[in-house]
Amino acid sequence: MPWPTTRRVIGTKVQRLDGPDKATGRARYSFDINLPGMLHARILRCPHAHARIKNIDSGAAEKTNGFRALHIIANAGVQLFFAGAEIVAVAADTEEHADDCLHAIRIDYEVLPHFVKEADALRAPDGPSTVPGGTPNVRPGGDFSTAKFDDVAYEGTAPRVEGTYGVAIISHQCLESHGLVAQWDNDLANLTVYASTQAVPLTAQALAQNFKLPVTRVKCITNYMGGGFGSKFGPDIQGIVAAELARKARAPVKLMLDRAEEVAVGGQRPSAAGTVRIAGTKEGDIRAYEVDCYGSPGVGGGATVNLGFLPYVYSVPNIKRRHRFVRLNLQTGRAMRAPGHPQNCLLTDQAVDDLAASLGLNPIILRTRNLPQNDQNAVQNDPTSFPALRHTIYTRQLEIIRKLCSWDDRWHPPGRGDGVIKTGLGMALHTWGGGGGPPNPTRVTVSSDGSVLVQSSTQDLGTACRTVPAIITADILGLRPQDITVQIGDSTFGPSTPSGGSTTCPGISPAILKAAEAARDALFAAIAPGLNAQAADLSIDTGHVINRANNNARIPWRNACGRLGMNTAIGNGDWPTNAQFQQNPDLRREWRGRLTNNGVGGVQVAEVKVDTETGVVRCTRFWAVQDCGLIINKLACESQVAGGVIMGVNYALFEECIYDRVTGRMLNPDMEFYKLGGIRDMPDIMVHMMDMPERGVIGIGEPPTISTAAAVGNAVFNAIGVRVPQAPFTPERVLAALANGRKRN
């Protein structure tokens, strides 16, 4: 079951099927669901970064206009560990009344000590624990060292270079906030939710578990969803609360977070900071990378802080890593678009450029010399895998981008250039997985009127995954994508994998291929006898079924399907199970070596202009070279890459969650002082997709955002000749770096 070698639709630029509905507001997101008799719910949250609830008085709330139901989430005596933690939820007939109701609730708190800034917690290693269980705020995150680092690392190297690099905690800022609409049937036996989620079946399962219902009695619908970026897996507290309130009130309930809540509890990307020592030979071979680093996962464990890839991408023989988690009184960090990677990239690729400057080398030379080699074992056993190809891929990408951005003409040694506004060019590299897996059962149904339906419970976060089934099915059946009806985002269609880790497109694509081929074969088997042919005599050409048994007669698609009469032709497709993969290595090579694959590389270059009087950085041009195996939809692929770059430019220049040390509250839980760039803040972006169809389908959602911020940081360094250590590179920080640079000289 290989991919078609001649691809009519796969790999072309296909408009997303729901484009017109989204652009004209007809697409109904979970936030847009209005049901008859629906109530609106709101949650009262802890205003303190760390507190114990002394008393809850909700008596007055239950007498307010429009009150319908109340649910206590945290009782008196409970300790809360961040501002925004949930305490009480209410439902009322209107949003306005739900607000009134919330204002009528009185809570008394015992306010406890807190830390919301990494530096404060690090300065007080023996200070009060402000996190659950009384465990230390600062915890080891796993140290690492290659053998005899202190003895051998710096042998024969040029003087080592030391630098500090950091990046702030940022917010996912999904435009559609977290939440759902919950509706029970009359006897409270069946629950339907319209949820904004990256995991449709998982959300239904979690609710079923919570309410002790058979999973078959919970249905999760996600027709459209307004962004997740890694923060929307499962119903969360607010989803469960909405269903609780709906059960108590015996009416549908909508509970979508407002913007301040969304920023307070809807997820954040952990911070990272590190002091790096790096050294290499004068020819530019990196010999040693030593880092003392930490990041904050908020109040939760350390899983979302992952600086364990340091040094990132490059092959360095001597490595030493000290790694700590700094737990703060903030919401627990969540996965955000390539979790861990942008931070690892910032702490590596910026140091690489500083080393290049100290060695007096062009950084593209340094990068070319220190790429990871192709793994010879993988070349033998798994020739299409990333380890087998990584040196080849990066080398090609560096060649492509060098020409694309005219690197040799544009690049200059750091800090060169006259005038107030200085231009700089910077580069960075990244890698990501992006493989798919089971289960993703898909059903293709061909009806006798020629219409075709594809069903899967998968979800479209905005990546155009709704259009993927149409593209693949159209290719196999000789139709156009717009001829195919796609139904997704319904948990009753069976299991599917959550959309995390760039796994959706590679997860669903081979299952769709299998289902479409099975439907085609079922059609052929059903109509062949009437055509005096064997099924094997029939084949597909654009819009037609070809009958080899009758002089290659061309039967229009609809006429061919009409022969189904009362029947339909159904094809089901899914991945082999993990057990089958273990038993059969050939199966694994087919599905995870040819149909799909895992592992990509990418190279990005930024051009910036830095105003040395105001400190304002503008990213003016950007180049991104990205591989992703077999491209399904080139239009959507390019859009994903450009979007990743834009998110990375925001990360580099604008985004930061700012917390007040004294009150422990966030100062910018909004979209006015939490900055996201507009259209005129963003560079002209040139995307080059490196097509490698022989590798199969690989996910593309995350990789293109990884190296952007590091490329921008290096471009700023190249422009002004001094390193701005902390991202985002705001005017204040740029001016401070320039002043420090002047002091040193």
Partner: protein
């Protein structure tokens, strides 16, 4: 941010000045008339019409249709459209006049509907993104968004579409730079500006990347 120095066109600052004026007017209690309004004594002894706090009848002209409901005076135009009239093309994102996802046309001008009271919009024609399609016939602006894939999750898109429509209606010969300036009050999180530029160049009949 880039809009701070803009002259003319439509900028975030322009939006904010507009909504500021609305807020001031509301605070002074100068909402003009109201059939179901109660009567309050004004400072000079005259009867000045006042409203609320309970629901008042509201009739809005949305996309050429007259729509009726009852809302408290504190309800914004955005919430009236979404929660009371089931017109959901305008999205609630920041709810504070920063992101533009709620942009609608009031009297032909783009307005952050989160920053205008519903009662303020009485007797004024309101147009939302839903007005830019009739059956399968798409207006040129959403058509360009779809063709160039200038949207991903799409939650900001109707706001961008309406803002862009406003610029092009005010000046059908607007240049690409003028259209971009008109979008400075809107924010996209997925990062579709690059594809939006393709759509803008096409709508302005300009060539991009020769």
């Amino acid at each position: 941010m880039s809009d701070s120095k803009d002259k003319g066109g439509l900028s975030r600052r322009g939006f904010l000045q507009g909504s500021g004026a609305v807020a001031a007017a509301t605070a002074l209690g100068t909402i003009p008339t109201g059939a179901s309004a109660g009567q309050q004594a004004g400072g000079n002894g005259q009867q000045v019409p006042g409203m609320g706090p309970n629901g008042v009848k509201l009739s809005l002209n949305v996309n050429g249709r007259s729509m009726n409901t009852t809302v408290e005076p504190r309800v914004t135009l955005l919430d009236a459209l979404r929660n009371y009239l089931d017109v959901t093309g305008c999205k609630r994102v920041c709810d504070r006049g920063s992101c533009g996802a709620c942009t609608v046309l009031v009297d032909g001008k783009p307005v952050y509907s989160c920053s205008m009271l519903a009662l303020e919009a009485r007797d004024k024609p309101i147009r939302t993104a839903e007005s830019l399609v009739a059956g399968a016939k798409l207006d040129a602006v959403p058509e360009a968004f779809a063709r160039f894939d200038a949207q991903q999750c799409g939650f900001c898109t109707p706001g961008f579409v309406v803002a862009m429509k406003a610029v092009l209606e005010a000046n059908p010969k607007a240049t690409q730079a003028e259209v971009e300036r008109g979008l400075c009050g809107n924010i996209c999180r997925c990062g579709t500006y690059e594809q939006m530029r393709d759509a803008i160049y096409s709508l302005c009949n300009q060539q991009r990347r020769t």
